[in-house]
């Protein structure tokens, strides 16, 4: 299969013709050479082998798939899982006797199995949620489930951010089968609430459980009602995407019309009319699990396993995981998000930056305004305070002045009093002096008289 130089030159001239031939060779097994009738030489490059290489590597590594089943007890979850994989993966939990209380919280249990088929290895993890919706008060019974899913995302995020990324186990939940009870009336409030909280975290595939309860007319009516309610509540269930081929598309469309799938599960083999079928035996007939007329089990199985398993994993990786990662890394807590998952790839990073800038500017403006307001308020306060203190001081000043005047007056009075006293005291002193003087002269006179007398 060597190429001659002529061929390599002529390839450019041939253009599309040889390319289409090459595509046809790729569709085959990629090991044929095609003789170009115009050139009479082999026009085969060989990268048609690429998918095979990928395939071989993948097969060696093995595939992983995690399936979560949620629904009230008694809706046939375990039976359906067993029927899907045609083994008893999962023995139904022993029905607790009347003396055992049913646990109040929802448990999340994982069981892991390794299945092999035709050389391909699949590690299947089934996440079960016993106790969901069973108690009398079921508020927040979805919390353990959301926590579990987010925990898985976080584990993957951490392992992605590690330095050594050799083995990255993918434990994220790829699909969630939600079992709706066959009431025939529509979704219960619990169903709606649960799906609203989980549709942006995991691929939800709603199923109608125990579909052999309903006649075909009841079933179609019920499905219509469910789809209507899902649309009303803006719940995003997993949409099987269109395939590439025309025929695939047509088939897909027919199958997609059966959503939500009405399923019946059973692993017991029965014999009717000589052939062996899996089904449920009633006194009035046998409901076959693998009969498209009876239920949509085959459709579910095909879409889940045979055609869309890889797509489920891709959507989980590209949409749900990226949502989670975006929220986590942007620092917004997961429970705070008022905006439900916008697909991460849908927003232009520049636009996001613009928006952030705008937000930031707006925030700054607001802060500025606030600060100004605060400033004005403070100024007013201070002014008021000063005025108050001024008035206060004034008052005090006046008071003191008055007091001073009063004292002054008092002092004045005292002084005048004192002067008067002084005057009177001086007066009295003078009088006394005079008196004494008079007395003194008198006594002197007397003495002189006496002396005169005595002189004789």
């Amino acid at each position: 299969m060597s190429r001659s130089p002529e061929e390599s030159d002529s390839r450019g001239m041939l253009g599309s013709g040889s390319r289409s031939r090459r595509m046809r060779t790729m569709r085959g097994s990629g090991a044929q050479t095609v003789r170009d009738p115009r050139n009479n030489m082999a026009s085969y490059v060989g990268f048609a082998n690429l998918p095979n290489q990928v395939y071989r590597k993948a097969v060696k590594r093995g595939f992983e798939f995690t399936l979560m089943v949620v629904g009230e007890s008694g809706l046939g979850k375990s039976t359906l899982v067993n029927s899907l994989f045609i083994t008893d993966l999962y023995s139904p939990s022993e029905y607790p006797g009347p003396s055992q209380r049913i646990t109040k919280t929802v448990k999340v249990e994982t069981s892991r199995v390794l299945v092999k088929e035709g050389g391909v290895q699949l590690q299947l993890t089934i996440v079960d949620t016993p106790g969901f919706g069973d108690a009398v008060d079921n508020s927040n019974c979805w919390k353990p489930i959301t926590d579990h899913i987010e925990q898985r995302f976080e584990d993957y995020l951490n392992s992605e951010s590690r330095v050594n990324r050799r083995t990255m186990p993918d434990n994220r939940v790829h699909a969630c089968l939600y079992f709706i009870g066959p009431t025939g009336h529509g979704l219960k409030p619990l169903d709606i609430e649960f799906m609203k909280r989980l549709h942006d975290k995991v691929n939800i595939i709603p199923l109608i459980a125990k579909a052999d309860t309903m006649t075909p007319e009841e079933c179609t009516q019920f499905k219509k009602k469910i789809l209507q309610e899902i649309k009303e509540n803006k719940i995003q269930i997993y949409e099987f995407p269109e395939g590439e081929d025309e025929e695939d598309n047509k088939l897909n469309k027919k199958l997609r019309e059966r959503i939500p799938f009405a399923v019946v599960g059973s692993n017991t083999l029965l014999e009717i009319n000589g052939r062996k079928v899996r089904g449920r035996q009633y006194p009035w007939g046998v409901a076959e699990v693998e009969n498209m007329d009876h239920c949509d089990f085959i459709t579910l199985r095909n879409m889940l396993i045979r055609t869309h398993m890889q797509d489920l994993k891709d959507v989980t990786n590209n949409v749900h995981y990226e949502n989670y990662r975006c929220q986590k890394l942007a620092g917004i807590t997961a429970t705070n998000g008022t905006e439900k998952g916008k697909p991460a790839g849908g927003k232009n990073p520049l636009a996001q930056m613009e928006e952030e800038k705008r937000e930031h500017v707006a925030k700054m403006k607001k802060m500025e305004m606030e600060m100004e307001q605060v400033f004005e308020m403070k100024v007013k306060e201070k002014r008021q305070k000063l005025k108050d203190s001024e008035a206060d001081l004034q008052r005090r000043h006046e008071q003191m002045k008055k007091k001073l005047e009063q004292e002054y007056k008092e002092l004045d009075e005292k002084r005048s009093l004192f002067e008067k006293e002084k005057l009177s005291f001086e007066e009295s002193q003078r009088q006394l002096e005079e008196q004494r003087k008079m007395d003194a002269t008198k006594s002197l006179d007397n003495k002189k008289k006496k002396e005169k007398k005595s002189l004789f």
Binding site: V136, D137, T183, G186, G285
Partner: protein, 407 residues
Amino acid sequence: MSSQQGFTLSGKQFEALCAAFETADVQKRGSIDVQIVPKLVQDVLGSSLAPSEKDAIRLRAESKAKKGVLYFADFVEVMSETLQTTTQWGKLTTTLSGYVGIDTLQEQMRKKALKRGFEFHIMVVGGSGLGKSTLVNTLFKAQISRRSCTNESEGTIPKTVQIKSVSHVIEEKGVRLKLTVTDTPGFGDQINNENCWLPILEFINDQYEKYLSEEVNVSRKKHIPDTRVHVCLYFISPTGHSCRPLDLEFMKRLDKVVNIVPIIAKADTLTLEERYAFKKRVREDLEFHGIQFYPMKSLDEDEEETAINQALREKMPFAIVGSDREYQVNGKSVLGRKTKWGLIEVENKNHCEFALLRDMLIRTHMQDLKDVTDSIHYENFRRERLEMHSEFAGPTPPYHEMGESNL
């Protein structure tokens, strides 16, 4: 011989009693042992005495016995007291020598009842989508339930438990029945179902209250309209595992207030083995929690009744499929559900137990349901109400005045 209460025995009765006494008194002491009195009485009166009556006789004998033996005079007294309380006189019934015409009593009663008509009140409780309305329509072969009466859009689940009653008068061969069906949409549908049984409890007690107030009225009506709930059909969802906590909570609270008949709804979900296992588990659950459903064991009076009721109890809860559509099978028109894999016939005993339920509810036990409601549940309610009232009213007045007190 006459007792103080003035009950005179006829000559023939007296002779029969003497004969019985003598045959029992083998030792000719003039007295018989107390232990053999009940058996003796049974021989004389015939064996169709209820166990409660037998107990009463034994008590009476023991109260009159001196030193464990009963003398003839006391024996006669015991017998006369017994004769007053029962109409089962066995060998002591007086034979008529010709046709008197007492048997026309039956006809007279019948005519009176026919004129007045009968009343019956059924309540259906269960989560939405379990087939309650369909079952009621199937039971009475008419469009009775509220779904068919009003043009309600299907599937609007109400936010609180509502109580909706619909009344119809149906007639068959001259017998008129006023049938009231009470539905409880919204029961058990919310996320938080705490206390969803309270509106229902209130409704039932309201009906008792209405009846009681009519009864204690000074001037009573000739016929008090009976709106009390006679039977409550509780629909258990066919999960295949066991009763749900909500079911147990509800039934625990209501089995002392009304007759509860548990039913497994939408039984076409279960195969026969699953059905049998599920029923067993449900019965175990109910027994474990002490829930007494109708027919109650404690009320069986004689052997015949016990046998019938026991057979019924072993088949309960009945696995029901309801349908109001008709299909042709072998030329006959039957009610059923047609699926791609077969036709489920509602009245076929091999398919489901609807026929058993219908027979019990309508054909054999309807009057008994009314009687139990009247004599047991209503009396319980009345006693509680009067006791509660007398607590407030002070010391209880003497018995003969109580009936006249105007509550």
